[in-house]
């Protein structure tokens, strides 16, 4: 089955027939509702909050939330039949979200942001759209605010494109995968304003394995071959020799620890 984003832009894809599925199909409604609850669990809100729901569509997630603002780009998906307490806005999130800085306590997005990786017109690139979206989202959240975006990455490349755009905007980012390696894997991008450690979002949850790729990379860089160490000196000498330069022969004294003179 081909992916929706590969066939049409969202405002054309979500016509009456497709949109009805989000209002009537109980399977779709249940999946969307589960993902909304999971996202809320990750947000861990302590009090009634002002939330932005990005790509709210027919307001499925909005029914579960209350006191929200919602944005969507497809007229047929508007929550006109649903009893949604929040305000709806028709907008293209690739153009950014137009709110004052520090407006929202949190943001949530279910099954929406993968559409940003598609650029229908030639004057905008996916990177440009992602940048504008995440930059403006970052600004519109308060200090210490959080955002959780469930999305469907087409491949690993799209996944890292989206995650990197969020990190470049200043977010601390992590990806939560529900049912990894299965067909029904659900990917949640968990973001925190301020670029700090995001693993706190899952600290209370069971059955969550944390893979911290940051620490591994740092170790490989510095601790294995520190600049100025004997191993580094030997490597540099080998490089210069390979280049054809004159290099003194090595001995047991090469790179030996000297007694500090001062």
């Amino acid at each position: 089955m081909s992916r929706p984003e590969d066939s049409l832009p969202p405002d054309l894809f979500y016509n009456d027939v497709e949109s009805r599925k989000y209002t009537t199909s109980s399977r779709i409604r249940n999946i969307q509702a589960d993902m909304t609850h999971r996202a809320l669990e990750l947000l861990d809100l302590q009090e009634p909050s002002f939330i932005l729901d990005v790509g709210c569509g027919s307001g499925l997630s909005g029914e579960i939330l209350s006191s929200v603002e919602e944005e969507d780009g497809g007229p047929h998906m508007w929550a006109l039949e649903r009893d949604v307490e929040g305000d709806m806005l028709l907008a293209d999130i690739g153009q950014g979200v137009a709110f004052r800085p520090g407006t929202f306590d949190a943001a949530i997005s279910i099954s929406a942001i993968q559409w940003l990786c598609n650029a229908e017109t030639s004057d905008v690139s996916p990177e440009g759209r992602l940048k504008r979206f995440f930059d403006s989202l970052y600004a519109s959240l308060k200090r210490g605010g959080k955002a959780v975006c469930q999305f469907y990455p087409k491949n690993a490349q799209q996944r890292s494109m989206i995650t990197n755009a969020a990190i470049k905007a200043g977010f601390g980012a992590g990806i939560l995968e529900d049912d990894p390696e299965t067909k029904s894997v659900k990917v949640y991008l968990v973001l925190s304003v301020g670029g700090g450690d995001v693993t706190g979002a899952v600290s209370g949850m069971q059955d969550v394995d944390v893979y911290d790729s940051r620490r591994k990379e740092r170790k490989r860089g510095k601790e294995f071959e520190k600049k100025g160490s004997k191993a580094w000196i030997m490597r540099k000498k080998g490089q210069m020799e390979a280049k054809g330069k004159v290099v003194k022969p090595s001995s047991k004294y090469t790179g030996r620890k000297r007694k500090t003179a001062f």
């Binding site: 009090e47 009634p48 709806m88 293209d92």
Partner: protein, 131 residues
């Protein structure tokens, strides 16, 4: 669109991002509608510090609503001795959450662009030459 939302919306154009005149957006030909909503005192307490009171006053004036006090109510004015809602809290709720613009236009003072509101939903889609 609730008046609360209007207090946070700015013009979506990139050119207006750095200008102070792009907030607040000014309602024109607005048709107001009162929508009943359950009051959530904690939410109002949470959101009130973020509300731009001056902008709220000028919007209120433009819409022809009763004028608001010079400064925003403080947190102590929102709950009475027993912890119940005060009249001020109820008035805030009516103003921010229940007063909505059902149709009309939102004007940016900086670039002059008008965003349309239909059935309570504002259209912020920009043609590519305006983005």
């Amino acid at each position: 669109m609730k008046l609360l939302t209007l207090n946070f919306l700015t013009c979506a154009r990139k050119a207006c991002k750095t200008s102070a005149a792009s907030f607040p957006l000014h309602p024109r030909e607005a048709e107001l509608e009162q929508v009943e909503l359950d009051m959530n005192p904690q939410f109002i307490r949470n959101v009130l510090p973020r509300v731009e009171w001056e902008a709220m006053r000028s919007i209120s004036q433009e819409l022809g609503l009763p004028s608001l006090p010079d400064t925003a109510p403080g947190p102590e004015e929102l709950a009475d001795a027993e912890g119940g809602p005060t009249q001020i809290l109820k008035d805030l709720h009516t103003l921010l959450m229940e007063t909505t613009i059902a149709s009309g236009k939102l004007l940016c003072a900086n670039c002059g662009h008008e965003y349309a509101i239909k059935e309570g939903i504002a259209n912020f889609l920009l043609p590519s030459h305006l983005v």
